[in-house]
């Protein structure tokens, strides 16, 4: 197991390095710079600024410096948000985004799997069609539409929940609901398809022939096998939800890290672009690793490490 983990860790570092390199050079190849604005700055000041942020040095030197700092987990200063480092921004934004994302994921997974299982068991019945209609709606309605709809209905017309901001549990309800519908729908559809396939397997018939109750057949024999494809999508889904979403955080005025992704690119805030990308990639790689571990737990045929030969 430890050799596997070590190998895996090295692979993760290499992946991250490739992403850093790719992003760094792509970012610098895009025209414009942090100081390239409509109002013209004095050439001398511009030059001073550039030298302050080391932007006047050759690209390779900048790249080397960035890597050196990155090893020390230092993402550098933000150019646009003066006197703040990228570490500050992420440190403040990520916990909020993570909290929102975490609850969203839990809601999406629980409701998605439940909906999918019920739909599969009532295959081609009214409940199935109903559940799948909800799922299609969930996939096709963008979350910003969902968000505004929820705000109008549950905050304005019926003032049950606050309209926006992030301070108490009741503030969390609407953004979580808005953010969860999409992933929930995806999980529900996947679970249903996968469950339907598993239910036609021979071992389900064997379980029936043993005289097991339908509840036991579904939860003990079918669900675990049906969850593998669901777990697969969960990795990337979780990474993107946990690191915040621009639109939902903007609508509900949530101080998460989602807005930095978009803002930093618009303003060419190089260190923030790099910081958010590296951070997101790191989380994604970690999630994919967790997914692989989950495979091993769910399916004994998938071995993560070579044990003694049988």
């Amino acid at each position: 197991m430890s050799t596997y983990l070590l190998k895996r860790f090295i692979a993760m570092i290499i992946t991250l390095w490739l992403i850093v390199t790719g992003t760094f050079f792509l970012m610098h190849s895009v025209p414009g710079s942090p100081f390239n604005e409509e109002r013209t700055t004095n050439a001398a000041i511009q030059k001073n600024l550039e030298s302050y942020y080391h932007l006047d040095e050759p690209l390779l030197v900048q790249y080397g410096n960035y890597l050196k700092a990155l090893v020390k987990m230092d993402f550098g200063p933000s150019i646009k948000k003066s006197s703040q480092t990228v570490n500050d921004l992420l440190g403040r934004g990520f916990p909020v985004s993570f909290e929102l994302g975490f609850y969203t994921l839990i809601l999406a997974i629980l409701s998605g799997i439940t909906l999918g299982v019920i739909a599969a068991l009532r295959h081609n019945g009214i409940i199935d069609y109903l559940a799948m209609s909800i799922a299609v709606l969930g996939i096709s309605i963008p979350n910003f539409v969902m968000a505004t709809f929820l705000i109008e209905q549950l905050a304005v017309n019926f003032p049950i929940f606050p309209v926006a901001t992030w301070s108490s549990p009741s503030h969390m309800v609407l953004p979580i609901l808005a953010l969860a519908t999409g992933p929930m729908a995806i999980i529900a559809r996947l679970t249903r398809t996968s469950m339907l396939e598993v239910l036609t397997q021979d071992y389900i018939r064997t379980a029936k022939a043993k005289g097991l109750s339908p509840v036991k057949i579904v939860f003990k024999h079918a669900l675990r096998n049906a969850l593998l494809p669901v777990v697969t999508v969960l990795g990337s889904l979780a990474a993107s939800i946990l690191t915040g979403t621009f639109v939902i955080e903007k609508i509900f005025a949530i101080p998460g890290m989602g807005k930095y992704f978009v803002d930093s690119i618009n303003t060419r805030d190089y260190p923030v672009i790099m910081g958010t990308t590296v951070f997101y990639s790191g989380i994604l790689i970690l999630m994919l690793f967790l997914v692989d571990l989950a495979y091993g737990v769910l399916d004994p045929r998938i071995k993560l490490h070579k044990k003694e030969a049988k």
């Binding site: 071992y203 029936k208 022939a209 043993k210 005289g211 109750s213 024999h221 004994p300 045929r301």
Partner: protein, 332 residues
């Protein structure tokens, strides 16, 4: 002899987009205690549907048991509701399926899969259930049962898996064991071992076995009685001796002639010409008439009466009729 299971005039059909497929059209047979009854026939003749109907395991819909009776200990299984059926499945009647590679759940240990049947039907603690499971594994000839119990199906070979499936089916000491092509997916040496195991287990437990197969070689080895099915009906039934040495139905004769034998010259194999009838609209008369070398006019119009040739041997064929003997010169 004591009858453990009686099937009376069973009709099963499946509704499809193309219409209703009448898969089983009036099957009747008795199963005696401790015997092995083989049901043989080509693919699609309704032998699997018959066996799955006994446990009511055919998917409904599209399948439907139209009529008939399946009497087990004087209870008609067809009338039973699901919860009562569940008490019988696995406990009194159990089943072995064709492919041991897919019949076991890949994510649950073999021990758990054997034990869950006992726990379901008998009031045993996990420890007691484990002891029974160990006994079963020893009975079906699996070495190191203690270790094997904790392993997953993928850690077993095909033959070993089939032994597990058999252990699973026998764990509650059922009265009837239905084996649907239990050796088809196995290679010949393993097949011989599994058949040997069946005989052994039957001797030890006295279980009655219904063996579904299309392999006459298997039948010759283990069956006490043989039922030959064609197009959803049993056309001939009798003891192994009667069917192999005195087959009366032209279809049975055809089946036996189409089996390769070691003492045969090359090219001597005689296939049955034609294909089985369309079961969307099965023929009114004898379904085999279209392929039968001795078919008469009456065969296509009226289904033949059952003729009793001995206490065990019955055949559905017009050739048995007194009048046929003068009418058909082709009859050898």
């Amino acid at each position: 002899m004591e009858k453990v299971l009686q099937v009376k005039d069973l009709h099963v059909s499946f509704s499809t987009y193309g219409g209703e497929v009448k898969a089983v059209r009036g099957v009747s047979f008795d199963l005696y205690k401790g015997e092995t009854l083989a049901i043989v026939g080509e693919s699609g003749c309704g032998k699997s549907v018959t066996s799955q109907s006994i446990m009511k395991l055919i998917p409904e819909p599209p399948g439907k048991i139209r009529s008939g009776e399946i009497l087990f200990k004087d209870i008609d299984l067809i009338q039973l509701k699901e919860p009562e059926l569940r008490k019988i499945r696995g406990a009194n009647i159990s089943m072995i399926f064709q492919d041991p590679m897919t019949a076991l759940n890949p994510t649950i240990t073999v021990g758990e899969q054997i034990m869950e049947g006992i726990i379901q039907h008998e009031k045993l603690t996990r420890n007691q259930a484990k002891r029974v499971a160990l006994e079963m594994l020893t009975l079906v000839g699996i070495p190191n049962p203690e270790i094997r119990l904790k392993q997953y199906p993928h850690q077993f070979s095909g033959g070993m898996r089939q032994r597990i499936v058999i252990a699973m089916a026998l764990v509650c000491r059922p009265d009837v064991l239905i084996a649907d092509e239990p050796t088809t997916a196995l290679d010949v040496t393993i097949q011989a071992q599994i058949l040997e195991l069946f005989r052994d287990i039957q001797k030890k437990t006295g279980v009655s076995i219904i063996l579904i197969t299309h392999d006459l070689g298997v039948v010759a080895q283990v069956a006490d009685r043989i039922a030959v099915m064609y197009a959803g009906r049993i056309v001939e039934i009798g003891t192994r001796r009667e069917i192999f040495y005195h087959p009366q139905h032209p279809y049975t004769k055809g089946l036996l002639q189409s089996v390769p034998r070691l003492d045969m010259e090359k090219g001597e194999l005689i296939p049955i010409p034609g294909t089985p009838p369309d079961l969307f609209s099965p023929p009114v008369g004898c379904a085999f008439a279209a392929r039968c070398p001795h078919a008469m006019e009456v065969c296509e119009r009226v289904y033949p009466l059952k003729t009793q040739l001995s206490t065990q041997h019955h055949v559905d064929c017009w050739l048995q009729d007194e009048r046929a003997k003068n009418l058909v010169p082709t009859l050898v």
